[in-house]
């Protein structure tokens, strides 16, 4: 397994994709952090009192953009780690040197954890680095010493790693690279936000929305930008349950990938 991990690590770092996406992530989140930090502090607030959050709550919600906006990046890099193998047919060579397909899949899942942590770290630095000073200067404060806010920030990094793992697992189910990216973008940018709104609108289904992957990730962080400003459901899963839900997504998808894609003939 150690050898498989080293190989998977080298696969990640010997192409440019990981740092290209990382730079895009940093730039994008710094921009979003700036826009949100600005519009929630400096820009005039609506008169009808819709400023729903303030103080530490507001800071935590802004910092949770790492998940609300940033999760697509670790998800994509994770899925690429798997779909690249099929796109360029390197899966053949990979399974020649490691015919135990569960070991192959396991190594890929594990090795994206540190990469996902790195993505989370960079995303957090980008958001907090830009939005923090804005909140401090023009708002109620950055609250970077507040225990609850720090938890949100730290768990945002953890959440990012989970997204990367879920990405690998998803790539093992949908191995067509273009299709995988399209589905990820469509799901994260349209389907889930709409589903969260829609499900959250009715009492009967309100509880269900919390189990959507993005909502579960918000639950793990303990703050939701989406819930705070987008309307929809406001109660999140407790942290332990949210963690279990996310692990279930990763494990479930990986299991499906193992039983379909990785049981088939290669080539």
């Amino acid at each position: 397994m150690r050898a498989a991990l080293v190989a998977e690590y080298r696969k990640l770092v010997t192409t440019r994709m990981w740092w290209v996406l990382l730079i895009a992530l940093a730039a994008y989140l710094a921009f979003i952090g700036g826009v949100m930090g600005f519009s929630l502090t400096v820009a005039p607030q609506p008169e009808d009192g819709t400023a729903m959050l303030e103080g530490a709550e507001l800071a935590a919600a802004v910092y949770s953009l790492v998940n609300a906006v940033g999760y697509v990046f670790p998800l994509v890099i994770g899925s690429l780690a798997m779909t690249m193998e099929f796109r360029h047919q390197t899966i053949t060579q990979s399974l020649l040197v490691e015919p135990r397909r569960s070991v192959f899949l396991g190594a890929k899942l594990l090795v994206t954890v540190p990469l996902g942590l790195l993505y989370g770290l960079v995303a957090t630095v980008a958001v907090v680095g830009v939005a923090g000073p804005l909140l401090e200067v023009a708002g109620d404060g950055a609250f970077l010493t507040d225990g609850r806010v720090l938890q949100v920030i730290l768990l945002g990094v953890v959440v990012s790693a989970l997204w990367a793992v879920i990405g690998v697992a998803f790539g093992s189910v949908l191995t067509n690279q273009v299709a995988a990216i399209v589905v990820i973008l469509a799901f994260t940018q349209f389907v889930e936000p709409i589903a969260r709104l829609g499900l959250g609108a009715f009492d009967a289904t309100e509880g269900v929305a919390r189990f959507l992957p993005g909502a579960a990730a918000d639950g793990l962080m303990g703050a939701s930008f989406f819930a705070a400003f987008g309307g929809g459901e406001s109660d999140l899963l407790p942290r332990w349950a949210a963690l279990l839900v996310l692990l279930a997504y990763a494990g479930g998808l990986a299991l499906v990938g193992r039983l379909t894609t990785l049981r088939r003939d290669i080539g």
Binding site: K11, Q89, S94, E98, G267
Partner: protein, 298 residues
């Protein structure tokens, strides 16, 4: 000396839907020799090799490397070095980077990756991205990947594709060295001429079935000698051929006679007072034998 494992294919079959790609195939590949695995395009060579290497599951039958299937060896890449597809590289990775990725799992050092990239003549392109490699360079990189683990058996699918003539000579020498060291060497090709000077044994398949397995020499015995004969009096020569019942067809200014030795033709012409200007053996038509063997199964 290395003691290479024999490769054994027993009753192997693979269906893709209605297509019977490999059909009840049985043969063995011995160590210490270069074996050519031959057949026209679509004959089932790649499918057979993929089953041998545990990438494709047989519909029935089995394939063994030594005493067990490939995938059941603890470090399979150290037993069989295989190169299947010249295009199986990430285009954004450097040649050296590619080797280093797989070196880890083969269980060899990065230094070994360096050594191999030199061995296959890619030292100058080691840090260039594979996307810019030519077909021949990819073949060489694939070969280097196969050799990472210094394997006692080597399996190469169409390794001569895209290699320049110089590269083919180089490959031939390398494979010869491997066989002489006692390794098992199996290479596939759809052109007999490409490997004719490289292989000791041949396994020929067509439409998924075995049509011939022997030494190259035994294959040559199946070839009928042809003799080219030319006379200033072609009509007399044609009459002679008809009288004697020779199988002959016109070629150029003369006749091409099958399965009759040059001496016999010369003697017959002399006895009939026919002047000859050329009488030349055409060697053995191995390619014809190959075509005859593989065409018949269609």
């Amino acid at each position: 000396m290395v003691s290479g494992p024999p490769l054994v294919v027993e009753g192997l079959a693979k269906s893709f839907g209605a297509v019977r790609a490999v059909d009840d195939l049985t043969f063995a590949v011995r160590p210490g020799a270069v074996t050519g695995f031959l057949g026209p395009n679509g004959a089932g060579k790649t499918t057979t090799l993929r089953m041998l290497l545990g990438l494709t599951r047989p519909t029935s039958g089995r394939a063994l490397v030594g005493d067990r299937p490939y995938a059941e060896h603890p470090r399979p890449a150290r037993v069989v070095g295989a190169a299947l597809d010249a295009s199986s590289f990430h285009p954004g990775r450097s040649g050296l980077g590619h080797l280093e990725v797989y070196a880890a799992q083969v269980g060899v050092s990065r230094q070994r990756a360096h050594d191999l990239i030199e061995l296959v003549g890619l030292a100058g392109a080691a840090d260039r991205r594979v996307g810019g490699y030519s077909m021949g360079m990819r073949q060489r990189l694939g070969l280097a990947t196969a050799l990472l683990g210094d394997p006692p058996a080597v399996v190469l699918d169409e390794p001569a594709n895209g290699l320049d003539p110089e590269g083919i000579v180089w490959l031939r020498r390398l494979l010869r060295t491997f066989a002489d060291e006692g390794r098992t060497v199996l290479i596939s090709s759809h052109v007999l001429a490409e490997v004719q000077h490289t292989v000791d044994d041949v396994v020929i398949i067509a439409a998924g079935r075995l049509v011939h397995a022997s030494s190259l020499a035994a294959l040559a015995d199946l070839a009928e000698p042809e003799t080219y004969v030319e006379s200033p009096d072609p009509e007399a020569l044609a009459r002679l051929a008809a009288d004697r019942g020779w199988t002959a067809r016109p070629e150029g200014a003369g006749l091409l006679v099958s399965a009759v030795a040059g001496a016999e033709i010369g003697a017959a012409a002399y006895a009939n007072g026919i002047e000859l200007h050329q009488l030349a053996g055409r060697g053995v038509g191995l390619e014809d034998v190959f075509l005859r063997l593989t065409g018949g199964a269609r």
